[in-house]
């Protein structure tokens, strides 16, 4: 069975912060088309702060907990509580592990999904980050149950996340600020669904790169 050592927390956070930073203007532009245009700025601020606070050699759980706490306590907006809780639950699901394997990452994803669903009232099809997250986790779960390798599960998750993100272009927003636009939100990617894709694809890429036989 293949797995990723948990001592690469800082490196993972660096990669996540890089991706968010590189896409900050793009995410704000997506948000600006249907919302208030602050998504990228605030995410970038939160990920950057969390990275500064994470020590070299931090475990995945410590790094993800720092990220979650920073987003939850300092960033605000809708994405602060959603992604803050998302990363805190991910951290809790890999606490005290020596490595993250296929089953552990599945538990991390499922815990993250559960808290996001509890906090908001969105469903798949409402043009939110759930349109990325739900199919991504379903694809990962299906691959896991079919006995696929960790790398294959991650690849399936990434593809489904991308399709899910793209699906929001043709959806009409039902939740959050964009929902006030109704039909006029159609034709724009959802910023939350897009940032969720960036985060999941970064996990997939990072874990695939650092897989080791255990």
């Amino acid at each position: 069975m293949d797995a990723v050592s948990v001592d690469r927390g800082k490196a993972l956070l660096e990669r996540l912060a890089q991706i968010i930073h590189a896409n900050a203007a793009y995410l704000s532009e997506l948000d600006g088309a249907v919302g208030d245009g602050d998504h990228g700025i605030n995410m970038d601020k939160g990920f950057g702060k969390a990275l500064e606070r994470t020590a070299e050699g931090a475990t995945l759980a410590v790094a993800l907990r720092t990220l979650g706490n920073t987003l939850l306590t300092e960033i605000g907006g809708a994405m602060g509580p959603l992604y803050g809780s998302f990363f805190l639950e991910m951290a809790a699901a890999c606490d005290n592990r020596a490595e993250v394997d296929t089953a552990t990452f599945r538990a991390m994803l499922e815990a993250a999904l559960a808290v996001v669903q509890d906090l908001g009232s969105a469903k798949v099809g409402d043009k939110t980050l759930l349109d990325t997250l739900v199919p991504a986790i379903e694809a990962y779960r299906a691959a896991h149950e079919a006995g696929a390798s960790f790398a294959e599960c991650l690849a399936q998750m990434r593809s489904a996340a991308e399709r899910g993100k793209e699906s929001t272009r043709d959806l009409v927003a039902k939740i959050g600020r964009a929902s006030r636009l109704g039909e006029r939100s159609r034709g724009h990617l959802d910023a939350g669904a897009t940032s969720c894709f960036l985060i999941l694809s970064t996990f997939a890429e990072f874990f695939s790169q650092h897989l080791q036989a255990s």
Binding site: D36, D38, E74, I75, G76, G77, P81, G176
Partner: protein, 335 residues
């Protein structure tokens, strides 16, 4: 971008530093740099009044901290809900042992952060109840009122809730009064220009020269119609034609009218708008009991205005009339 700022990423922090110095008679900082409190808060035995929201709406939200108004306010980034931690710290700063009424506007971020903060406060034994303002008529149809945004009507909700708490109301009484205040209130905005979040550096929506957007939101959320800019009297008529039938307001009603600029419209023009609003209401037999005209709830440097009408009854009148002192509103007893 023509703005008087230092670092676009630090406008909120820089603004707060100036605000607490300029209004040291009314507000005090707390351990959380994103929470300000009334200098006398918490008042033992009084229900604490808390609100919070994104920055860029001056005087809202911190401008309504003061005597017979809000006890503590959670401050967010520009147009961004305060973090859950800020709402929680505001609850603690306002709690005088009689519970906390959190009176805020209906936005997804605020709803989630208040929900998390309430859970944190409950674990500490602080009772928090909420009223969620949804006075913005164009933001959703009447049958989906729970989806409507909160806009300038929030000022009247804080006025009523703050007064009820100051007069010794219990938490349930304060909540009931604030809920009635917002249930009796309808608002609409019109935008003439977009606004720019300093850290973004350019407007994220456009309103063409010579056009106006009827029903625009406090963060530039699209309205119901973009049309040619009309004279003030026609704008007033259009706005009232949308909000008056929604309650509906009827002949014989007594109302508060609040006209707020959105930031860049000269106050002079708000009076031009008010003149026609008053005339239309008079013609319909609706009596203006108390008007407020000025910049009460803005959207950075957007040009435009909001019109808010609140139907009064015997409970709401004395609460609206109670003296109040805060940066956004100074009101003396009805003589």
């Amino acid at each position: 971008m023509q703005r008087i700022i230092n670092d676009p990423n630090r406008v909120v922090d820089d603004m707060l530093k100036g605000f607490v110095q300029a209004h040291a008679d009314l507000v005090a900082p707390t351990d959380n740099p994103r929470v300000l409190r009334y200098v006398k808060a918490p008042v033992a035995g009084k229900v604490g009044i808390v609100t919070g929201g994104g920055s860029g709406h001056k005087p809202a939200f911190i401008g309504y901290i003061g005597r017979n108004m809000c006890d503590a306010v959670a401050v967010g980034e520009i147009f961004t809900s305060p973090a859950a931690q800020a709402f929680y710290d505001a609850f603690k700063a306002a709690n005088g042992g009689a519970g906390v009424a959190c009176l805020y506007g209906n936005y997804a971020g605020d709803n989630m952060n208040v929900k998390l903060a309430r859970r944190m406060a409950e674990a500490d034994g602080i009772t928090v109840k909420t009223v969620v303002a949804n006075d913005d008529v164009p933001s959703a149809p009447k049958e989906e009122r729970e989806k409507r945004r909160g806009v300038a009507g929030e000022v009247l909700m804080w006025k009523v809730g703050g007064a009820k708490a100051a007069l010794g109301g219990t938490l349930d009484e304060v909540i009931a009064a604030a809920q009635k205040a917002i249930d009796n209130t309808r608002s609409i905005g019109v935008g003439l220009t977009p606004c720019t979040i300093p850290a973004v550096g350019k407007p994220n929506f456009t309103i063409e020269a010579g056009k106006m957007e009827m029903g625009i939101g406090h963060h530039g959320e699209p309205g119901i119609q973009v049309m040619d800019l009309r004279p003030a009297d026609e704008i007033a008529q259009m706005m009232l034609d949308i909000i008056l039938p929604d309650l509906p307001f009827n002949s014989g009603d007594e109302v508060v009218v609040l006209i707020s600029g959105l930031g860049a419209t000269p106050v002079m023009e708000l009076y031009i708008l008010y003149n026609k609003v008053a005339q239309i209401l008079a013609a319909q037999g609706i009596r203006i009991y108390r008007p407020y005209v000025g910049n009460y709830f803005t959207s950075l440097e957007m040009m435009g205005a909001t019109v808010t009408v609140m139907k009064l009854d015997d409970e709401l009148k004395p609460l609206i009339d109670l003296e109040a002192e805060c940066m956004g509103l100074r009101q003396f007893g009805r003589g």
